[in-house]
């Protein structure tokens, strides 16, 4: 844990973020809509924010009383916003059996904790409930301050609410797709939603675009340029944005990819487009991305490249590749 606190501070075991790439079989076999949902939703969207906490000097019997009164099974031990440990019903049972229920929480709390970060996808939380069999996980923000607590009941409630909204969205999307089906093979329009930090699915849109172009018999050279632009922009949405849409259309011999996100926006576009500049964190770099080459590479493979951005609003990147028609392509 960064900013290591005093000796008695809890030792949070942070989930390995790369673990988000692998899901337990039971998650992978969920319907796509549910998969998308648990990637899009963040832990902060689901957690209980109004956390009941105790200080280290409070006796264990007070923790027991609070658990009974509030119908909860675990209470974080916090001072000055920092998490020091957690008292669970197991700790209370041991205290009663051991005759030390009047002792301070700080002496008997669990200090080796597994915690989640508030901006992690919900899928992480589900995986960690599966892996650790704990009743709850404290949630920390980037400054390592306790900002919430999450239990499986929170997840069930949030998923039910979100699924209802998701079905409404899907109905609208379905109507749009039907319209797209009417399009001819030389005119295509597809939208791919991309969620922040959804590395499990990042790249699937670019893959679908590449496959569609190969099926339409465009030359490998042209396919590669479009696929690289799509992939870089998709990864950018996943890594740098709060989520967005990758739109692709081919029309009149041109492939146009538009990546539009919902923030946070780029302060200095010229800097962002320079070779080797990136705001990616170590975790992103450990996954092989964030070298600051993405936009440069998109520009390289594009015949037209355009980027607009506003801090707090979002960024739109447009990449056009002149692809001709499949028959023209084969002749070249």
């Amino acid at each position: 844990m960064e900013n290591a606190a005093p000796q008695s501070t809890a030792t949070p075991i942070m989930p390995e973020k790369s673990a988000g790439k692998t899901s337990p079989a039971d998650i992978r076999h969920q319907p796509l809509v549910l998969l998308e949902l648990i990637q899009r939703l963040k832990v902060r969207d689901v957690m209980t924010r109004d956390v009941i906490c105790l200080e280290r000097c409070i006796p264990l019997w007070e923790a027991q009383r609070l658990m009974k009164e509030k119908h909860i099974s675990g209470i974080p031990v916090v001072e000055d916003g920092r998490l020091y440990g957690l008292i669970s019903t197991d700790d209370i049972i041991c205290a009663i059996e051991g005759g030390y229920i009047a002792q301070p929480c700080g002496h008997y709390m669990t200090t080796k904790l597994v915690v989640l970060e508030d901006d992690m996808p919900l899928s992480f939380a589900i995986q960690y409930f599966d892996r650790f069999h704990f009743g709850r996980f404290p949630v920390l923000n980037r400054e390592r301050a306790l900002v919430g607590i999450i239990c499986q009941r929170d997840i069930n409630r949030a998923l039910l609410d979100e699924l209802s909204e998701e079905f409404n969205r899907m109905e609208k999307s379905s109507a749009r797709s039907m319209q797209q089906e009417l399009d001819t093979s030389t005119y295509m329009l597809r939208d791919f939603p991309v969620a922040k930090y959804d590395f499990e699915n990042a790249g699937k849109a670019a893959n679908a675009i590449k496959t569609a172009m190969i099926e339409r018999k465009f030359s490998p050279k042209v396919v590669r340029r479009v696929a690289v632009a799509a992939y870089e922009l998709e990864i950018n949405l996943c890594v740098h944005s709060n989520g967005g849409i990758l739109s692709w259309q081919i029309n009149n011999g041109r492939s146009e990819i538009v990546a539009k996100d919902e923030g946070p926006g780029i302060e200095d576009i010229a800097w962002a487009c320079r070779d080797g500049t990136s705001t990616a964190n170590e975790w992103i770099r450990s996954l092989g991305f964030g070298a600051g080459l993405g936009l440069v590479n998109v520009k390289r493979v594009s015949d037209e490249f355009e980027i607009t951005s506003a801090v707090g609003v979002g960024t739109t990147v447009r990449s056009v590749v002149n692809i001709g028609t499949p028959s023209e392509n084969q002749e070249t």
């Binding site: 790369s18 790439k21 692998t22 899901s23 992978r28 590395f199 499990e200 990042a202 790249g203 699937k204 670019a206 893959n207 590449k210 490998p220 590669r224 696929a227 690289v228 992939y231 870089e232 990864i235 996954l287 092989g288 991305f289 964030g290 070298a291 600051g292 080459l293 993405g294 590479n297 390289r300």
Partner: protein, 111 residues
């Protein structure tokens, strides 16, 4: 040298036999930085990397690589085999370091 030969030269354990298993390798790229791999404009490429993730396979697929060999004996996430199968990408794991793997492949291709 084709992909099968490269797997053999590196004493690699074949995890997925993909569509290009018998294809000749024209270029070899060794990198853990997928951003670099995406800059490569070569066909029939073999990717050597010590990064074990689904994104390695997706990157390889986008640039038209014929195979991915994960070096340093890295253990693969359980999803990686499935992604390789879905993409038709040959996937193997070698215990050799990236440096040694590059030398071995170079020697074999120079013969």
């Amino acid at each position: 040298m084709n992909v099968q030969d490269a797997v053999s030269v590196l004493n690699a354990e074949l995890m997925v036999r993909g569509d290009g298993f018998l294809k000749d390798i024209k270029h070899v790229v060794a990198s853990d930085l997928m951003s670099d791999v995406l800059l490569v404009d070569e066909d029939d490429m073999l990717l050597l990397t010590s990064l074990a993730s689904d994104q390695v396979l997706r990157t390889a697929q986008i640039v038209g690589a014929v195979a991915v060999i994960v070096v340093n004996g890295k253990s693969l996430p359980s999803s990686m085999k499935q992604v390789a199968t879905d993409l038709g990408m040959t996937l193997a794991v070698s215990q050799q370091s990236k440096f040694d793997a590059c030398i071995a492949i170079h020697h074999a291709m120079s013969k």
